[in-house]
């Protein structure tokens, strides 16, 4: 592990092509729409991914606002239950597949080549293809809302037979859009694996890579392992709906519980797909702003690997109430509890990194610190949910909603925001506006906790998830959650404004934008020119 600077040779950079015989490799850039449609440049594709995911974040966020507005007080006021179910379902699908996942792919596209000293991703054309599949998939998915019978209304987990025999006619389009998004994920994952394994700068060993590359490498293997399982499950749905099979139809000899096993065999690793890259981001930011190297690099790598392996052995903890045999309940309870160990190792590592460091509180650090605290709260409720007997009370309540939102919003999303603040100087050449960033941070922290913390109480008091109206004893919790939700949603507009300002101007950032930053990306100028590392840097690793 670590400090890689200075390089032996000054690295040649160019915005299009340079004099060193590289012109043939890079034809003159195209302009207008074609530039973006046909680009094979990892930075441009990275930006496309990030802009796409931000767009989806606001669309999915709008759906969440509809849900929170309806739940603002008891009774049905704004929407019909039918539409409410479509909103909860679409919110989940869009946020998981359209916002969180693509934003991590965007960050990987931008940063992995820069962090390992590669000129681009290993498979640039495939990269273009895997991005452009996404707008197709999500246009299709969103269009189902306008079809007769409405869009998906069976929850983002789409349990059969509600999603097959009892589903709206648009479900076939929903299945197709998941297939397309899944292909995009698999291709993106292949690309990342190929890049990390083949394109590291000469001399950079696996154990020299920044943790973001490590966590993404492991995430990519998870994606390749589980996206085909999802594809298989939705194909079986497709057959049940359109071709008269009975995979999940009990009346035809099928098994509705099989669907849940298939879904969660995909779904649980999927949860880690949405958090492992966040671990990598936070493991870069905390050392930078503590001015101290990560406490245990190797144990972080091993912990990530352990979490990934365990993620394949815990899926049925989502199904404790379906009536599994006692031995299965016990097995999945024990394996689920085990996950707390490597996750704890990570949290302890971050804290130990800060201990006796020299800490400053720039915006990326603020979000990373909030991540550590809030993700840990989500981890605690996860530990509680692992206790199978207690899960009989927690399952399918707002306690679960609180849990996974704590891991995904103040967790994964905060890490993505931290990453954006961390790398915006590298992307745009300007520091983000400090004042605005601090406002964004504090409003987000207050909003997100006001939204999701009361949900713990609502769930424990007995409120099930996915209901459009509720008994009166849950009214206060929901009022708080709705107010918090509106605050959090509105404060994300500040983030958009901040990005626009940052792209247009602001304080100029040097190559090494943060004093304590050590990785290779800080050796290229800010903003990073279109083509970097055309000649591989010579990487010098510190003797252990």
């Amino acid at each position: 592990m670590a400090p890689k600077l200075p390089l032996h040779h000054p690295v040649e950079q160019s915005s299009t092509a340079n004099a060193g015989g590289q012109a043939a490799a890079h034809p003159a850039p195209r302009y207008g729409i074609k530039r973006w449609l046909l680009t094979t440049n990892h930075k441009e594709i990275g930006s496309l991914y990030l802009i796409f995911s931000l767009t989806m974040f606001f669309i999915g966020g709008t759906f969440a606002m509809v849900v929170r507005a309806e739940l603002f007080q008891p009774g049905l006021q704004l929407v019909e239950p039918e539409f409410f179910n479509q909103m909860t379902t679409m919110h989940g699908l869009i946020m998981v597949f359209g916002a969180i996942m693509p934003s991590f792919v965007g960050l990987a596209n931008w940063m992995i080549p820069l962090q390992i000293g590669a000129p681009d991703m290993a498979l640039p054309r495939l990269n273009n293809f895997s991005f452009w599949l996404l707008p197709v998939a999500f246009t299709l998915l969103l269009s189902t809302l306008l079809m007769p019978g409405g869009g998906p209304n069976f929850g983002w987990t789409f349990y059969a037979p509600l999603s097959t025999t009892y589903a709206p006619p648009s479900t076939t389009f929903f299945i197709l859009s998941l297939h397309i998004a899944g292909i995009s994920s698999i291709l993106g994952a292949i690309n990342i694996i190929a890049t990390v394994l083949n394109l590291r700068a000469p001399g950079m060993r696996m154990m020299d890579m920044p943790l973001f590359c490590w966590t993404w490498l492991i995430t990519a293997f998870l994606l390749i392992a589980v996206m085909p399982v999802l594809a298989g499950a939705v194909t079986m749905m497709l057959m049940d709906i359109n071709f008269g099979t009975s995979f999940f139809n009990a009346a035809g000899g099928g098994d509705p519980v099989l669907f849940q096993h298939l879904f969660w065999f995909f779904g649980h690793p999927e949860v880690y797909i949405m958090i492992l890259p966040a671990f990598g981001i936070v493991s870069a930011i905390i050392p930078t702003f503590s001015r101290k190297r990560l406490f245990g690099y190797a144990s972080m790598v091993y912990a990530t690997g352990a979490i990934a392996i365990l993620s394949f052995m815990v899926w049925a903890h989502h199904m404790f109430t379906v009536g599994m045999p006692l031995t299965a309940e016990l097995f999945f309870m024990y394996t689920t509890m085990l996950i707390a160990v490597p996750t704890g190792v990570k949290v302890f590592n971050w804290v130990a990194t800060m201990f006796r460091g020299s800490i400053s509180f720039e915006p990326p650090m603020l979000f990373a610190l909030a991540f550590v605290v809030q993700f840990t709260i989500g981890g605690f409720s996860g530990l509680m949910l692992a206790i199978s007997p207690a899960d009989f009370q927690y399952h399918d309540t707002y306690f679960v909603v609180a849990h996974f939102h704590y891991v995904l919003v103040p967790g994964a999303l905060f890490a993505i925001l931290a990453a954006a603040y961390y790398w915006l100087p590298k992307w745009t050449g300007h520091y983000p506006n400090l004042r605005l960033a601090q406002w964004h941070f504090w409003l987000s922290v207050i909003g997100v906790n006001l939204t999701f913390f009361p949900m713990h109480f609502a769930g424990l008091a007995g409120m099930p998830r996915r209901i459009p109206d509720y008994a009166l004893q849950f009214a206060d919790f929901n009022l708080a959650s709705s107010l918090g939700g509106f605050l959090f949603g509105a404060s994300q507009l500040l983030f958009v404004w901040l990005i626009i300002k940052c792209v247009r101007g602001g304080e100029k950032a040097p190559a090494k934008a943060w004093e304590g930053a050590e990785d290779l990306e800080w050796s290229v100028p800010s903003p990073a020119p279109l083509h970097t590392f055309e000649h591989p840097p010579t990487f010098r690793h510190e003797s252990k």
Binding site: P81, Y159, A251, S360, I387, A461, L472
Partner: protein
């Protein structure tokens, strides 16, 4: 000074969380069965473990944030990797987890032992109501949302048990072991009453088991926990736990009423009384999909009012209600409604909302068909 801040923070956090954790209506109910008490104590144990770990970890973290600030000119030290520390912080959580797994396993084993029950109750989930059958007692009924739809839309006062009231509660005895056999007629539902600590999915094609032995008489409320379609939020459960003698009396009364209902099958029924009976059943069972005015909810749920096919094809209408429509949302009612109710509902649908066919369907005919 810094130690002070940590202490103050700690002193604030612990009582605050305690108060919240203990406050009524903010926490998991202790419940009224031995199992629910054990589950509650597991819940509190793991909660306090989390609080202690949280105070320690966040304590060190916030101490570091206050103590080692760049702005105060603190220079970073350069230590990293310490095998002993890393082994300790792997081993201790592991030990805590083992300590937690032991009581959890014991409780789970108890929950998985429905043997030697005094009473078997079949619980059937249906979109969007619960059906209860007292096995071997010839007593069965469905339990529908008791809150009027208009109240949901904002007309009239919302009572104390808004959305948690039913037309007919499940009645159970205290101090007897009651075994639940749970299944579904359509999609997956989940039968959940927090005070009984029973949450079990009802799955079409499966029969799940669970059990309770209620310690205190009372009324315990819950609702469906698994998304099951449009009216998932309107599928409450009310359990009325009675003293044993009162329960036996209630059961005997219900048995007699059921016998009377069965004898009603044989006599000739008139249009008027069938319409009255049919309206009652239709509103309880059919209206959630086909709407009280028969207007339906296209495309899944066709309109019945003014439906030409329905009015012309009497035979198909009867067949549809009895056996449902394979591959569609329409369930079979042969096992959930009595012959009288089926005849009344069909008669009602063929004569209400301007569907003036004048057809009268006799319960005896339905009973004959069901016997085939």
């Amino acid at each position: 000074m810094r130690t002070c801040i940590v202490w103050i923070a700690g002193c604030l956090v612990v009582p605050l969380t305690t108060t919240l954790a203990m406050a009524n209506g903010w926490n998991m109910p202790v419940g009224v069965t031995d199992v629910s008490r054990e589950i509650h104590s597991l819940h509190m144990t793991i909660f306090w473990i989390c609080v202690v770990i949280g105070v320690l970890v966040f304590g060190v973290m916030f101490y570091s944030l206050f103590r080692f600030r760049h702005s105060k000119g603190v220079k970073a030290s350069h230590f990293h990797e310490h095998t002993l520390v890393e082994v300790i912080w792997t081993a201790i959580p592991l030990l805590i987890l083992v300590g937690m797994a032991v009581p959890a396993t014991a409780t789970l084993k108890k929950m998985y032992d429905p043997a030697d029950a005094d009473l078997d109750v079949m619980i059937i989930g249906q979109q969007w109501r619960w059906r209860y059958e007292y096995l071997g007692e010839d007593v069965a009924f469905t339990s529908n949302l008791g809150t009027p739809r208009e109240t949901v839309r904002g007309e009239g006062e919302r009572g104390e048990h808004y959305l948690r009231e039913v037309d007919e509660p499940l009645v159970l005895p205290v101090d007897r072991k009651v075994r639940f056999l749970m299944t579904s007629d359509d999609v997956i539902h989940s039968w959940w009453v927090p005070d009984l600590a029973v949450k079990q999915d009802t799955i079409p094609g499966f029969v799940n088991e669970n059990w309770v032995r209620i310690n205190e008489p009372g009324v315990y409320r819950g609702q469906c926990a698994e998304l099951c379609g449009i009216d998932h939020g309107f599928m409450p459960i009310v359990v009325h736990a009675m003293e044993e003698e009162a329960f036996d009396e209630w059961l005997a009364e219900r048995k007699e009423a059921a016998a009377q209902e069965a004898s009603g099958v044989d006599r000739e029924w008139g249009l008027e009384e069938l319409m009255a009976r049919g309206e009652e059943s239709y509103n309880a069972v059919c209206a959630s999909c086909h709407q009280p005015d028969g207007g339906g909810n296209a495309p899944a749920f066709p309109a019945l009012a003014g439906n030409q096919a329905l009015m012309e094809e009497r035979e198909r209408h009867v067949e549809t209600v009895i056996n449902g429509v394979s591959g569609a949302a329409m369930p079979a009612f042969r096992n959930t409604l009595s012959p009288v109710e089926i005849a009344a509902v069909i008669t009602y649908e063929r004569n209400a909302w301007g569907n003036e066919t004048g057809d009268v369907i006799q319960p005896s005919d339905i009973a004959e068909r069901l016997a085939d």
